[in-house]
Every structure is written in C-alpha cells, then in structure tokens.
C-alpha cells in the first residue's frame, strides 16, 4: 500500500485554494489591526431615522474583507472535514482522521443544534451561544469530552491499541501503512508511530480519557475543599481566617514542582502519605453535602434525614472504597468494591492539594464581599443560622465568578497533569496521557517531530478551549 499524503485526492482541488486564502486572510487581518491604530473602529452606527451607517473607506473595506475571508476559511476547513469524513483515507490523513472522529462530529452537531434551538430557555448556558468566543471554546471542550466518552465507553475513535507495538513501525512518519496488517486492523498509522512503534493517533485519543477522567473531578474536589473552608473563613473572619489563610499561603508558597517531587516519589507513596491525604481531602465533599442539606432542612427532620441518607450513604461507600486499597497502609474497609490504580490516586490527590488553596482564597474573598450585602443582613435578622447564610445565601450569589474560575481551573489542572507526566511522576511510563507522551517524544524531537507534537497540540487545544469558554462565560455573566 502507498503512504498517505495529508489531503489525498481532495488536495488537488482544495489545497491551491487554501494556499491562496491563508496569506490573503492573514494580510487583511494584520492590515485591519494596523489601521485601527489610526482611526477608532466605530462599527455599525444607527441613525435616528432607523437606517444604519457602516464604516466607510479602507477601514470598512478591511472589516468586510476579513469577515468574508474568515467565513471562506471556515467553509474550506469544513469542506476538508466533511468530505474527508465521507471519503475516509481517500482524502488523505485528514480524511482518515475526520472519519475516525465521525461519532464525535455527530454528537457535537446534535449538541449545538439542540442548544441553539432552545438557548432562550437555558439560562447562562444558553447565553453562551450568543458569543462567538464562547462557542468556539465550548466546541473545543466538547470535542475532547465526546472523544474521551466514545473512546472510553465504546472504544470507537482510536484505530489501534495504545500499547500494542507493531515492529518496523518505529518512528514512522504520519500516514505510513501498517506492515503486514491483518484483516480487521486499521491499515494505516494515521499520525505515525512513536519510538516504541505504537500508534501516535490512538495514544493521543486514549490520552484524552486520562485527562478527562482526572482533571474535572480533581477540580471539583478542589472546589469542595476550597468552598467548605473558604466560606467560614470569609464569613467569620478573625482567628479562624488568620489560621486558614496562613495554611493556604503556606501551600501556595511552595514551588509546585518541588511539591510534586516530594509527594509523588515512589518512596513517599510507599510511606502511605498520599493515601492519608486522600483520607482528609476526599472527606470534604461529604462534609459539604451534609452541611448543605442539614442547614436547609434543619426544621423538617423527616425530610432532612431522608435526604441525608440518600446522599451520604452512597458517598460514604465510594469514599471508603476509594481510600481503601489492598496491600497498602489503609485496609480496614471490607466492602472494597473498586480500587483506584495507585498512580492515579497519587496524581489526583496532589493535584487537588495544589489547587484547593487558590480556590479557598477566591471563595474567601467573595464571601467577605457578599456578606456586607442587604440580603445577608436580612437573613441574619430573620435569625438564620450562619451555615444556612453561607451555603444558601452567599454561595449561590457567588456562582458567576466561581463557574468562570472552574473552567479556567480545569485547564490549569490539565496543565498540571501534563507537568507531572512531563517529569515522569506518578502515572506509569506507558500511560498514554499527553504529558507522558510529550516527555517520551521530546528526546528525539529534533529528528522525529510527530510523537511529541501531536499530544502537545491536543493539550493546547483543550486548554485553549477551556480558557475561551471561561472568557465567553465571563462576558455573558457580566452582561447578566
């Protein structure tokens, strides 16, 4: 079989257009930016009689030009992907990749169609679809969410096993056909092979699963810790605040990498330290839920106990099972129905530990600001208990900045996971997560680019998506 080119038979038609369009588009954009230094960009201005004035002259021209050219670029990219998804490897590497991602495309289109159709009824989430930046960010994030979902649940997107090695495919460039491929295996290494002759594309896809399994959940845990400690610190102030803030600053003053090295080395893991930290950190969600429910239904005991039982019993079972592991320091719990793989637990705990002080500081600041509002005084006058005021008056009103920070923080957690992988800490060396693959690939970077470049771009796109999403959310929640 022949080696695949990037665009295959599509290239004959679309590549020349692409080659012309890109430089023209970039020139117009640069021209527009340079021109905007000399004259304020006023945009469309309404006249009192109902007509509108567009910017004229060369300013208006570059504006219209860049908009249309941008649209043309978008159409061209879509053409590559759509035709590629239909033609498969006939349309080169891009076609092959696009076809592998077909379930993701369908899920993305469905999500966008439904969301845009009902956006007026969906609150802040619906408002997201009013901003272009927010939509781009959301699309990038959901792309990786769906990829992780489909590859994790149905094993759909990837082409090969992320660990299987095919001899003679070592360091092969993208699009190389697999030597002596059996019936039923995918005939190409779409993005080449790494230095252990594994498929780079499949590893990148499987890597998204590791990131998606750890990053959002770890961020959520960090938020639970930060909220549970930050609210009382901000609300009560005084000695409690001084003490907790001192602890938070203590952790924040640690260089992150030094902390990782201290927590994640095999000797410390053998000493059981990450497990003890998990015992403490994983307990916060339970405390949070218990206080949340109890403060609300304190006066209705029946409802109170029902809700507490419904939430706390399953949570406690998961808690006990996750901190308990055979052959480690904590083995008291008989009902251990699942084990978190050692490396994952260590990584998870250290990421939560690093993130929670920052969340604590944000929540504390918000609580200090909001506690001076009138509705808090009203609640105090009504005789509400402090925890009710914190969790049911202050917290819901702090949700805007917290949601934005949540998005940003998932991105930051992804970067931290990558850093851990990059230094070979925690996760096993054959793990397909992006940090570890970048670390593997960088040793031969000057000769073979693709093994490191592919996970690097994947990580970049996910974090960029989260940042853009946070930006869009911030814009819309300020407008709210």
């Amino acid at each position: 079989m022949e080696k695949l080119t990037w665009t295959g038979s599509l290239g004959a038609v679309l590549d020349p257009i692409f080659m012309i369009l890109v430089p023209v588009f970039l020139t117009v954009i640069i021209l527009r930016v340079v021109l905007s230094f000399f004259e304020p960009d006023v945009g469309i201005q309404p006249n009192p009689d109902g007509t509108a004035n567009a910017t004229g002259g060369i300013w208006g021209l570059t504006r219209t030009g860049s908009n249309w050219l941008g649209l043309a670029m978008l159409v061209l990219l879509l053409a590559y992907l759509v035709i590629g998804a239909v033609m498969g490897t006939g349309a080169g590497i891009i076609g092959g990749i696009s076809q592998q991602f077909l379930p993701v495309w369908i899920a993305l289109i469905a999500t966008f169609a439904v969301s845009i159709r009902y956006k007026t009824r969906l609150g802040l989430y619906g408002k997201l679809f009013d901003s272009v930046i927010g939509m781009i960010g959301f699309a990038l994030v959901m792309f990786w969410v769906y990829t992780a979902l489909f590859t994790g649940l149905f094993d759909l997107v990837s082409t090969h096993d992320p660990l299987s090695q095919v001899s003679s495919m070592k360091n092969k460039v993208p699009g190389t056909p697999v030597a002596r491929a059996d019936e039923g295996t995918y005939p190409y290494y779409l993005l080449g092979g790494d230095n252990l002759a594994r498929d780079v594309f499949s590893r990148m896809v499987k890597g998204s699963l590791v990131v998606m399994a750890i990053a959002p959940l770890a961020t959520l845990f960090a938020f639970m810790v930060g909220i549970t400690l930050g609210l009382p610190a901000g609300y009560y102030g005084g000695k409690l605040d001084t003490f907790l803030s001192f602890l938070a600053n203590l952790i924040l003053a640690f260089p992150v990498i030094l902390l990782f090295y201290l927590l994640v080395t095999p000797e410390i893991v053998a000493a059981g330290l990450p497990q003890y930290m998990a015992v403490v950190l994983f307990f916060f969600p339970l405390v949070f839920m218990a206080v949340l429910i109890h403060s609300r239904y304190r006066t209705q005991p029946k409802k109170n106990y029902t809700w507490l039982a419904i939430t706390l019993i399953p949570m406690f079972l998961i808690y006990a099972a996750s901190i308990n592991a055979d052959g480690s320091k904590i083995t008291f719990w008989p009902l251990d129905f699942f084990d978190i793989p050692g490396g994952i637990l260590v990584v998870f705990v250290s990421v939560v530990f690093v993130n929670s002080p920052t969340v604590f500081r944000i929540v504390r600041g918000l609580a200090m600001d909001i506690k001076t509002r009138d509705y808090v005084s009203a609640a105090q006058t009504r005789g509400e208990r402090p925890w009710y005021i914190m969790l049911w008056e202050i917290l819901p009103n702090a949700r805007g900045p917290l949601i934005v920070d949540f998005c940003l923080r998932i991105g930051y957690t992804t970067i931290l996971l990558g850093t851990l992988g990059f230094f070979g800490l925690g996760l096993p060396p054959e793990s397909p997560d992006w940090g570890t693959t970048i670390n593997d690939g960088r040793r031969l970077l000057s000769i073979y680019l693709h093994p490191a470049l592919v996970p690097a771009i994947a990580l970049l796109s996910l974090v960029l998506g989260l940042n853009l999403l946070a930006d869009g959310l911030r814009e819309q929640s300020i407008r709210d």
């Binding site: 954009i29 527009r32 930016v33 905007s36 230094f37 304020p40 960009d41 504006r63 001192f246 600053n249 203590l250 924040l252 003053a253 640690f254 260089p255 992150v256 990498i257 030094l258 090295y261 201290l262 927590l263 080395t265 000797e267 410390i268 053998a270 000493a271 330290l273 991105g411 970067i415 990558g418 850093t419 990059f422 230094f423 940090g435 970048i438 690939g441 960088r442 970077l445 000057s446 000769i447 073979y448 680019l449 490191a452 470049l453 690097a456 771009i457 990580l459 970049l460 974090v463 960029l464 989260l466 940042n467 853009l468 930006d471």
Partner: protein, 378 residues
Amino acid sequence: MGRFILRRTGVLILTALCLTFIVFLLTNLYPNLEKLAKSEGNFRMADHEVATFLSNNGYRSALDPDFLAKVRSGQATDEEIEAGINTGFDARIFRNYGEWLGIVPGYVIEGTDGTTRARCATPGMDIADAPSFCGILQGYWGWSTVFKDEAGSIIGTRLALTGKLMFWVMLLMVPSALIIGVLAGMREGSATDRSLSTVSITTTATPEYVSGVLFIAVFASSAVGLKWFKGTATSAMDNATFENFFLPVLTIALYGMGYIARMTRASMAEVMTAHYVRTARLKGVSFRNIVLKHALRNALIAPFTVIMLQFPWLLNGVVIVETLFNYKGFGWVLVQAAGNNDIELLMGVSVVSVFVVLVTQLISDIGYVYLNPRISVT
C-alpha cells in the same frame, strides 16, 4: 508602614520555617532514608545494616545495642528484627532540623563501626577542628550526596546561571506584555483589542512544555524546521548567543506574558472609562496624550503586583524549560536533588525558592501600597 513591614517579615520567617520543616520531614521519611543509605552504602544492605548506617550518620536515633548484638549473632527472627527497627516517627528529626538551622550543635557520633563522624566536618577535615555549630545561620548549606560538593556552592553557581536566564526573560516579557495590554485596553472591543486578546489567551493556554516542543519543532528541528535556533541551551551556560538562548527565554516569557497582558488590558480598559479620562476627552486632549499622560500611569499599578506575583510561576517554567533545553541551572538542580533525594541540597533549593516567592509577595504588597495612595495599611 514600618510596623506593617515588620509584621509581614515576621509572617515571612514563620512561613519559611514551616515550609522548610515540611520539606525536611518529607525528605527524612524512612523509605527515603533507606534509599539514601542503600545508594551511599551498598544495595544489598540488610534492614539492620540500613538502620545502623542511618544512626551512625546522624539521620536517626541509635539502635538498642543489645538488640543489635542479637541480630548480628543471627539469633533474632525476622519478626523480631522488624519490630526492633523503628521505621516510623523518630523524635530525632527535631534535633536534626535544629542542627540544619544552626541553633543546635552538630552531632558528633562514635559509630558502631568504630569511626567517629561529625556533621560539621566536611570530608577530609579533622573532627577536632570542626566547629560545633554548622547550619544555615552559620552560612553552611550542607553537603550534597549526589554532586559530592558543598550544597551552598552548587546553589550559588546554578543560581547565577538561572539569574542570567531570568534577566533576559524579564527583559522580553515585561515590556512586551505591557505594550500588548495597553494597546488592547486603550480601545476596548476594537480589532486590535480582539486580536491581541486572542493572542494573550492563547499564550496563557500554552504551558512551557507545549510551547517549547512547538518552538523546537518549528525553529530548531533538523528534519523539517527552519533551523534558525538551536534546540539545546547547554552551550548558553558559558556563552549565551541569540541562537542558543532565544528559544528558552521566549518559551518562559510567553506563558507569563499572556497573563500580565490580560491584567494590563483589564486595568487599562477600566482607567479609560474613568471620569478624568472623559473630562480630558471633552477638553479636547488628543487621544495620544490621553493614553500617554492621563491613563498610562494609573493603569500600570495593577500589573506591577501581577508581575511580582508571577515569580513563583516563572520558577515553575524555569524548571520545565531547563529540563527541556538541557540548561543546567537552578531548576535542573531542583530536579536532580528531588529525583535523588539529596536531602541537604534539596533543603537549600527549597529555602531559596521559598524565599524568592515570599520576598516577591512582600515587595508586591509594599509596592502596591506605595504606588496606590488610596490603599492604606493601618
């Protein structure tokens, strides 16, 4: 102001003590010490040999002599050996920490093997000549077991190399971040603003190990790249040129740049909507003069704090970039010391990095009060 600085310095010293003690505690956990003993002695040491090595070298309390004699004669069972060796908490750690600080006299131990060892005697020194106190307060940073050299001198030379790197990073990062931020913030919502904001969001979303890999791929790769720069900065340690030093500097600078630029933009945009700017505009002051004379100075207060608080992040970037570009500076030493559990070198490294973080925090607080007369500390 004086009391404020005094109080903050007190908190700073307390924080530094707590942090160094945590590092000390973690590096002195038994599994770490066991690894150290085996790499210093030999890898086939029995458990009681590890324990005697550690007590002879002042890491742990001495074993019970009767127990040791019993083990050596081969009469002890495995359970007895396991029970006789303390692998958990050892109160000696407080004394060791005091010795490291220099407030407790250094140990002089006559070992079970007959030789006498003293903390303050560097290899080759006579024990009788050794001073009785030797710690951070006396200016002795300890002995690196990996590099077989004094920790203080290693940190000194490596810190100088990283200082060179940081100097160029600051020189590139701060002005360009401020320019981008001011240009984007002076006309909120314009084409300039939107394109520059996109650029700064992209750089904050690109961690150093991603941008470093991308830069090496594009500018330094021997396969398809442009070959403008070198992919390693090892030669830049003696002789830094644009060719071998620009990529590491750019990689560190870019990640911090986006963040500072966004803060500057936000601050500039806020100032541009202030009443005095509106007044200036109504007076007919030219846009150029509004930006340069009225807005700029007030807009630069917030970025100052942000730049100072960037130091801890830059330290992170330094470690990654020095590993990626093989530049043997402070970050590289951190990785070496942490990876090999080189206790005293690691302690030295953490003292330096913790102080950098805390002192920059202090400077940022004081600077903020100084620059912004509306904030008062009392």
